[in-house]
């Protein structure tokens, strides 16, 4: 191996902790099983899936996609600010990211409320079973990710160096981004695939 290659490899590093990445990769595989499960049930009852998707409030899902994607951008800026020692800027960005997480939860709550008030529940066939179960599991991930952002914000104290907290910030950010990217696949799979 040449010196230049060795140097490039040495510069490369895992964002956050290696153990967290093992968890992230495992979670991604678990969600792949969920995606295949949805497609399996869709194959068994295509008409029921088409009818179920037609009843969903897709516009709210688009708004939620924008919440998570924008939250991801703001989380990247928070980590960048912390790396450059700008604690207040990092805290401001994390506050904005927490707001996008809360926005997602509020809109998802509204979407569930609409569906339940229209008489649909997890017991109304395989489409609604898949919809409520898998968006519910993802919702729990969003709650955890938002709580992690709150913890990250609390860990950044004004007047103290953020350097010792960087692995925590990078790991928390990676978890948020994982939650974002899983939604980017659940969204077309549950709302647009009939």
């Amino acid at each position: 191996m040449s010196t230049a290659t060795e140097s490039r490899q040495a510069e490369r590093r895992i964002p956050g902790e290696a153990g967290l990445w093992a968890f992230i990769l495992l979670d991604l595989v678990v969600f792949t099983v969920f995606f295949v499960t949805v497609l399996h049930y869709r194959g068994e009852a295509p008409a029921a899936f088409a009818a179920g998707q037609a009843e969903l409030h897709g516009g709210l899902a688009v708004i939620n996609t924008l919440f998570l994607v924008t939250g991801s951008l703001v989380v990247v800026r928070a980590v960048e600010a912390a790396r450059s020692g700008a604690v207040l800027a990092a805290r401001r960005c994390l506050t904005a990211a927490i707001a996008t997480g809360c926005g997602f939860l509020a809109v998802k709550g509204l979407e569930y409320a609409f569906l339940l008030s229209e008489g649909y529940s997890i017991h109304d066939g395989t489409f609604y079973l898949c919809y409520f179960a898998f968006t519910g599991v993802h919702l729990v991930h969003v709650v955890v990710a938002t709580a992690v952002l709150l913890f990250m914000r609390r860990a950044l104290r004004a007047g103290s160096s953020p350097a010792p907290r960087l692995p925590l910030l990078e790991g928390g950010a990676a978890y948020w981004h994982m939650v974002d990217l899983l939604w980017l696949i659940l969204f077309p799979l549950l709302y647009l695939s009939a």
Partner: protein
């Protein structure tokens, strides 16, 4: 604050691409697109996996991560993406 978040760099470009791809998916999936049925469904799912790859590469800092980690992530996006898109066409 807005200037701190939205800059002329690759991360902002990735965010803009994700927003644009969301709009395209919605347009295709809402039956205003090619009207190609299964092909349109496979298309919006492929766009979803492409968006996931962008998030990993540019937001999760994987572009600066060790090769083995990038390969694991790329293998997940590629493997899951192909499996899901093929299954959406086959069943």
């Amino acid at each position: 604050m807005r200037r701190q978040i939205f800059r002329t760099d690759v991360v902002s470009a990735a965010w803009a691409a994700l927003v644009l791809a969301t709009g395209v998916s919605w347009w295709l999936g809402a039956d205003h697109g090619l009207g190609a049925g299964d092909a349109a469904v496979a298309g919006v799912l492929a766009i979803g996996f492409a968006k996931a790859w962008v998030v990993g590469r540019w937001f999760m800092d994987l572009r600066a991560a060790p090769l083995w980690l990038r390969r694991c992530f790329d293998a997940w996006v590629g493997g899951s993406g192909i499996a899901v898109c093929v299954l959406s066409l086959a069943i």
